[in-house]
């Protein structure tokens, strides 16, 4: 294949689109974070005021805490659950049916999931409280302090456990049968087979999943917005919803941009850290 620089035209439309709609806006956001605004008009440039304010912002700190809680919970509820499900489903007949069913909630638009679970969690007449009361307990407002983060995380887990299960399954299903069979012949229990043989072989998938769940933990917006709405008590405020509130309610473009940048920096930082950890842990046999 000889080199022909005109071939760049094949890729150019896609490049132009991504540049105009992703690269440029990102640059703008960076610039805006250093700009002074009066509503939608620029009044000055070259200020660090927004970042200084971010350092002192209590609500921002609260949002960060919530994000970390969310990540912590979802590591178990999404990745952990995915591992368990993959392990359970891996050696079964008709696993495709089970896998299909566990994955299915993810197909739903977030609005359906959010409204449905909001009704499940509702303080008055919600499904969960109805069940609890029928069992003799007391109703709880699941979407408020102190349950907010765990409640949303459970919904997230409901959505994504199947996703991670699929990822892990693709790794587990490639492990050669002979390895497992010889282990069983040697007397290993299923649990031991799982933990000592299968899990280590999908270590890089696990690392990858941790990467996805931590960066995703900072990006999650839909569930929070739909289930908590305006959330004036800030019981479930997270960075993305805080950003939307600052930008749209308070029309604070400078500060909103600064928060966007902080969010981006955190996500990139996490990716770098986890990638480094991954490399340090060592290569695992390629498939």
């Amino acid at each position: 294949m000889q080199k022909n620089n005109w071939y760049i035209l094949y890729a150019l439309p896609a490049v132009i689109l991504v540049t105009a709609l992703i690269a440029l806006p990102t640059i703008f956001t960076v610039l805006f974070s250093f700009t002074e605004w009066q509503r939608f008009n620029i009044t000055g440039f070259g200020t660090l005021r927004h970042y200084a304010r971010a350092l002192k912002d209590l609500t921002l700190g609260k949002a960060f805490v919530h994000n970390f809680l969310y990540i912590l919970f979802t590591i178990f509820l999404e990745v952990g659950a995915g591992l368990i499900l993959a392990g359970l489903v891996n050696h079964l007949k008709h696993s495709i049916v089970y896998r299909g069913l566990f994955f299915s909630p993810l197909i739903l638009p977030s609005i359906v999931v959010g409204v449905l679970w909001r009704q499940i969690y509702a303080a008055e007449g919600g499904l969960l409280n109805t069940i609890i009361i029928a069992l003799g307990g007391k109703a709880v407002s699941w979407l408020d302090q102190p349950y907010t983060m765990i409640s949303v995380s459970i919904v997230s887990g409901w959505l994504f456990a199947g996703y991670f299960m699929t990822i892990f399954y693709s790794g587990l299903s490639r492990i050669s049968r002979s390895v497992i069979e010889s282990a069983i012949i040697d007397g290993a229990t299923p649990f031991q087979v799982y933990t000592k043989i299968e899990l280590p072989l999908i270590k890089n998938l696990i690392m990858l999943s941790l990467l996805i769940v931590t960066t995703g933990g900072f990006k999650g917006f839909d569930l929070f917005q739909i289930m908590l709405r305006r959330d004036p008590m800030e019981s479930g405020i997270v960075l993305p919803t805080l950003l939307v509130r600052i930008f749209f309610e308070n029309q604070d473009i400078g500060y909103g941009s600064a928060i966007s940048m902080i969010l981006t920096a955190v996500v990139v930082l996490i990716m770098v850290i986890i990638s480094l950890i991954n490399k340090a842990v060592g290569e695992v046999e390629e498939y």
């Binding site: 035209l9 150019l12 209590l58 303080a123 004036p232 008590m233 749209f248 309610e249």
Partner: protein, 425 residues
């Protein structure tokens, strides 16, 4: 090679087509006059529809579109976005005070002073408050409203032999008696934070005085939220919570579901505005005929520096977009909006129009409200409509926490101060 160009062109054309389609989807035939507001009840919409029909009949070739899609998000997100779009409204509804001022500062508001002068004879003087800045009028008021009155269950009051309290001490006694009888004295569904915000907001004006409250809420330099008068005013709220006179789950209880407890008799009083009579009793009560509710203004706080007959109210109206291309049409539409013949219809469905002599004298409820409005010169603005939204959000959070005794007034107000410190620069 040619094919690549061709495909690129096709892709570009598709995008162009999409933009044109997306933009084009808005245009109707001929001239379009756009109006925007938050959501309204069906009776209101019916009257507005009639107005639109009459207007379109008078102006063939003109279509009036009314966007109510933002619903509750109108004040936070809906209107700002609509104004920024390429098809902004020519006329939009607003609340008097800070919000009007912001539109004026953002060059979104047309100076309506000359129109206002023409309309002055038919509109109550008090309705213009909050519509005027720097000597110019930016909003045509269409209605005045009381946002906080103490609604109470008359039957239960009679059963417990309670009289309408005129002072705070009497009020606390009434609450105590209700609590003793096993019911919740004051009920609020405060999950959106504004009910308690308006309620306790009135405490601020009554106790600390109108001017001081306005100064502090306007973030006037030299003022602090931790002002001792504010702390003491919030203490009243704290005590209500401590004495058990308020439903403990007020911050997690949603607005609409909350009224169930009022109508089943487990709670007795609810601080809400004039729309209680229309929207709540008609719309939500299981048996509107049996719902026997009346109201009284917040009782006088002994020792308070403010006018103890004041009420918390909001003037609402419509503004014109400074960038409108249809000024004359819009002016005509605005004039139509305050025409007495339409506003009388609004009065029939529970509104309190800004227009003189539109209330039905045989409507005892409307007359009673009007009497309450007329017996004071002091109308105070709710924190979220009259002032900076970020500030009021922080203040409402503080009030919510104080009412459930989660924070002391001092701590809560100090937190407000921290949160809004960046607004003071």
């Amino acid at each position: 090679m040619k094919k690549v160009y061709f495909l690129t062109l096709v892709s570009l054309l598709v995008f162009l087509g999409v933009s044109v389609y997306g933009g084009g989807k808005q245009e109707g035939k001929g001239t379009v006059l756009r109006v925007a507001s938050s959501s309204e009840g069906p009776e209101h919409i019916a009257i507005y529809d009639k107005m639109i029909a009459d207007f379109e009949a008078k102006h063939p070739g003109v279509t009036v579109t009314w966007d109510r899609s933002s619903g509750d998000d109108y004040q936070f997100q809906g209107l700002p976005s609509l104004l920024q779009s390429s098809t902004p409204p020519d006329i939009y509804s607003e609340w008097a005070g800070n919000r009007v001022k912001n539109h004026y500062l953002d060059h979104e508001a047309m100076d309506l002073s000359s129109l206002a002068d023409r309309l002055r004879p038919i509109i109550d003087d008090s309705a213009w408050s909050g519509a005027v800045f720097d000597g110019k009028t930016y909003m045509i008021p269409t209605s005045q409203d009381v946002t906080i009155m103490m609604w109470y269950n008359v039957d239960i009051f009679n059963k417990l032999n309670l009289k309408v309290p005129k002072t705070w001490t009497e009020f606390l006694t009434v609450c105590a008696k209700i609590k003793e009888a096993g019911m919740t004295p004051i009920l609020m569904g405060n999950s959106d934070a504004w009910i308690a915000g308006n309620f306790v907001g009135l405490f601020l004006y009554r106790w600390a005085g109108e001017q001081k409250t306005i100064d502090i809420l306007s973030l006037k330099p030299g003022t602090k939220f931790t002002d001792p008068d504010f702390v003491k005013a919030m203490q009243f709220a704290y005590d209500l919570g401590k004495l058990g006179y308020i439903n403990k789950d007020l911050n997690t209880l949603e607005y609409e579901p909350s009224f169930a407890r009022l109508f089943d008799g487990s709670a007795v009083m609810y601080p809400l505005g004039t729309w209680f009579k229309t929207e709540i009793i008609q719309g939500i009560a299981p048996d509107p005929e049996k719902a026997n509710f009346d109201f009284f203004n917040l009782p006088a706080m002994e020792g308070g520096k403010g006018d103890q007959s004041s009420y918390m109210g909001v003037n609402a109206g419509f503004m014109m977009n400074a960038k409108t291309k249809h000024r004359a049409l819009a002016e005509e539409f605005l004039t139509m909006m305050v025409a007495p013949e339409y506003r009388k219809e609004f009065a029939k469905v529970g509104d309190f129009p800004s227009v003189k002599d539109t209330l039905d004298p045989s409507d005892s409820y409307a007359m009673k409200v009007k009497a309450m409005m007329n017996q004071t010169k002091t109308v105070v603005a709710p924190p979220d409509t009259g002032y900076n939204l970020e500030m009021s959000t922080a203040l409402y959070q503080a009030m919510a926490k104080v009412l459930v005794n989660e924070m002391t007034p001092e701590a809560a107000l100090a937190e407000v101060e921290t949160k809004i410190s960046h607004l003071r620069q």
